[in-house]
Amino acid sequence: MSVANPAILKLTVRNHPGVMSHVCGLFARRAYNLEGIMVRPVRDNKQLSRMWLLVNEEERLQQLIRQTEKLVDVICVEPHAMEGSAFEATQEYFV
């Protein structure tokens, strides 16, 4: 991982056109780098998607999480450890 202090966010979002641009745009507009993005519909609920974000832990991350939570199509945002995350399982695809 190229990130100094990796932090992982696990998002539950509505499987809705535009939700990716809402989430990614929010980070981009605040000049906060997204180091990794993985998203797929939730297996047993096609209304929802799971989005994994890998970011650098900075002081303003909490503020960004609050703003992400405010997005209409975002249902919840949970911090997650590297262990058991989508990024841990897929490292070999990013060599």
Partner: protein, 594 residues
């Protein structure tokens, strides 16, 4: 070409009106997306829409003509956006503006962004090229979804007529719920023309219930306030939007706490209220900012600690702890770290607090505040002279009653009005705060006058700002609104000139209009009355007559370009470092110039 009527739309038009209006017995009807949209807007209680038609929203306008909803034809889509904003800011209800695709949509952007920063419930509905043409660089195609995304609370690209059944009520619910804001709905032309069978219409979208406030945090807040020896309230637009003015007044009076108001919160406490400390920040009164230097607890109620209010954050209220009550969780900790925060409707918090608190007196602190007020007053230089800024504002305020609603454009005149106008009630004061949009005033005034026809509407403007949406003179005249535009005319971009004078060694760059505009003539050319007070032997009488006579009127008041807004805190500076004067320029002494 997109302008041609399609067979599906022709089918929609042939529907008998009776079918459309019959809502008593649930029955299946065939409706076009455009007709469905208009019907959903009617059910939302929309009575007036401001907009401009064009190729991509022709079906909407066709359907609108069969509706009891009235339409205000703005002369520019930005004007339409601000007219709807004026209606929304006066009523607190979500209001709608229409624009076509491409340039229609891009012209709306400024008004939407303005609504976003000032938390105004605006529904911007735009036409889009047909879905099959999206992405082909079609005529008047623009990525409205992408453009609206960062400047709205939420935005939609509607992909089928059936989606309107969900999107329109959701748009209103979102615009009105929590912290209000603008919602953009982009509707491709084929969706407007699509015929669908509709049986039941959804319930109108309304403000979602606010979260229930628990007793404990409110009790803890009261305890902190009662433990403080120099508490101050900071009250903002959130109080206005929550309809919490009465609760706030009771709260402040029973706890005996002086209150500073943000730009957006003006009017919550009448300016002559004993607890009112006026506006804080960049152009706040000296005593206001000095009280904040001494206070030991600042309670932010429906505020976002904007940089124009706080100045340099590290130096803001250096001796104080902060409590922050706001309905938007993402505001907590954004600018400064409170010792306590409550994420809730500020009105509910204050009502609960009013039931629990015990009345108290802060005699010592109030005496100190009064002393600061006496020792460091706001100097309204020239307040008795009609051709000087404070004098012109005072003259207008003396001639109209508290019933008048006041708006401004953006610049020096806006700050003079914010400092000096005797506001007495919420929603009496409407101005572009966060985005600071020159050109806001005239169209906003039109919306205000439309929404509150029993109130006189006064728009203070400057010669720079007024030019930015001057075309709406024609709209004001067309509707014969009781609206007065008062131009404090220094033929300069005054606030820029002021900053160049104070911070750029008087290097005046691109701030003077070499070609002077004859505003009364421009007003008359578009069907309004227009006068210049300097043409009259008795200008005071002319002003009185112009203000009292119903109907739209432009009143030009020449002032000197050397007039400044004082105090002024340098951008990025600490609020205690207020600039309170500048030596008059010897070559250009202060005084009225004609």
């Amino acid at each position: 070409m997109t302008e041609l009527a399609t067979p599906t739309r022709a089918a929609a038009d042939s529907l008998p009106t009776e079918t459309r209006l019959d809502v008593a017995a649930p029955q299946t009807r065939e409706l076009s997306g455009a007709r469905l949209l208009i019907e959903l807007l009617e059910r939302q209680g929309v009575t007036c829409i401001a907009g401009v038609p064009g190729g991509a929203n022709l079906p909407m306008y066709d359907a609108l003509s069969h509706s009891p909803i009235s339409h205000v034809l703005a002369r520019h889509e930005q004007g339409a956006g601000f007219i709807a904003q004026g209606m929304a800011r006066i009523t607190g209800q979500a209001q709608v503006c229409f624009a076509s695709s491409g340039p229609g949509a891009t012209n709306l952007l400024t008004a939407v962004a303005d609504a976003h920063l000032d938390s105004v419930p605006l529904i911007a509905i735009t036409g889009q090229v047909p879905q099959a043409m999206i992405g082909t660089d079609a005529f008047q195609e623009i990525d409205t979804f992408g453009l609206m995304l960062p400047i709205s609370k939420h935005n939609y690209l509607v992909r089928s007529a059936a989606e309107l059944l969900e999107v329109i009520p959701a748009a209103f619910e979102l615009a009105l719920s929590g912290r209000p804001g603008p919602v953009s709905v982009d509707i491709p032309k084929d969706v407007q023309n699509e015929i669908i069978s509709v049986t039941d219409l959804p319930a109108p979208g309304v403000r979602a219930p606010d979260p229930v406030v628990a007793d404990e945090p409110v009790l803890a807040m009261i305890e902190r306030i009662q433990a403080a020896s120099k508490p101050v309230l900071m009250i903002g637009g959130g109080i206005v939007y929550a309809g919490a003015t009465d609760a706030l007044r009771r709260f402040a009076e029973r706890l005996d706490i002086p209150a500073v108001q943000t730009f957006m919160g003006l009017g919550v406490l009448p300016s002559d209220h004993p607890l009112s400390l006026g506006m804080l920040g960049m152009h706040g009164a000296p005593y206001t900012n000095l009280v904040l230097e001494e206070c030991d607890l600042l309670v932010g109620l429906g505020v976002r600690f904007d940089d124009r209010a706080t100045g340099k954050v590290a130096a803001f209220c250096p001796n104080a702890q902060f409590i922050h009550v706001d309905i938007d969780n993402s505001e907590i900790g954004k600018v400064l770290q409170p010792v306590q925060s409550i994420v809730a409707d500020v009105g509910s918090v204050l009502e609960l607090a009013n039931r629990m608190l015990e009345e108290q007196r802060n005699t010592k602190w109030r005496q100190r505040v009064d002393q600061l007020k006496n020792d460091h007053p706001l100097d309204l230089d020239g307040k008795d002279e009609l051709f000087r800024p404070y004098g012109a504002i005072a003259a207008v305020a003396a001639l109209v009653d508290d019933n008048a609603n006041i708006t401004t454009d953006v610049g020096q005149h806006q700050m003079w009005v914010a400092q000096a106008y005797p506001f007495v009630r919420p929603r009496q004061w409407i101005s572009s705060g966060g985005l600071g949009t020159m050109g806001f005033g005239l169209p906003a005034a039109i919306g205000m006058a439309l929404a509150a026809p029993d109130h006189k509407t006064i728009c203070f403007s400057g010669d720079g700002s007024l030019m930015m949406n001057i075309q709406e003179f024609a709209t004001a005249a067309e509707h014969n609104l009781d609206l007065k535009v008062i131009v404090l005319n220094n033929n300069h971009l005054g606030l820029v000139r002021q900053q160049q004078t104070l911070f750029y060694e008087k290097n005046l760059s691109a701030v003077k209009f070499e070609q002077r505009t004859d505003f009364p003539a421009a007003a008359r050319a578009m069907g309004m009355k227009g006068i210049d007070l300097s043409d009259f032997e008795n200008p005071q009488q002319a002003l009185q007559q112009a203000l009292n006579e119903p109907g739209p009127c432009l009143i030009n008041i020449p002032i000197s370009e050397t007039e400044m807004v004082f105090p002024m805190v340098a951008p990025g500076g600490a609020n205690k470092d207020m600039i309170v004067s500048e030596k008059p320029d010897a070559a250009n002494p202060a005084g009225a110039s004609k």
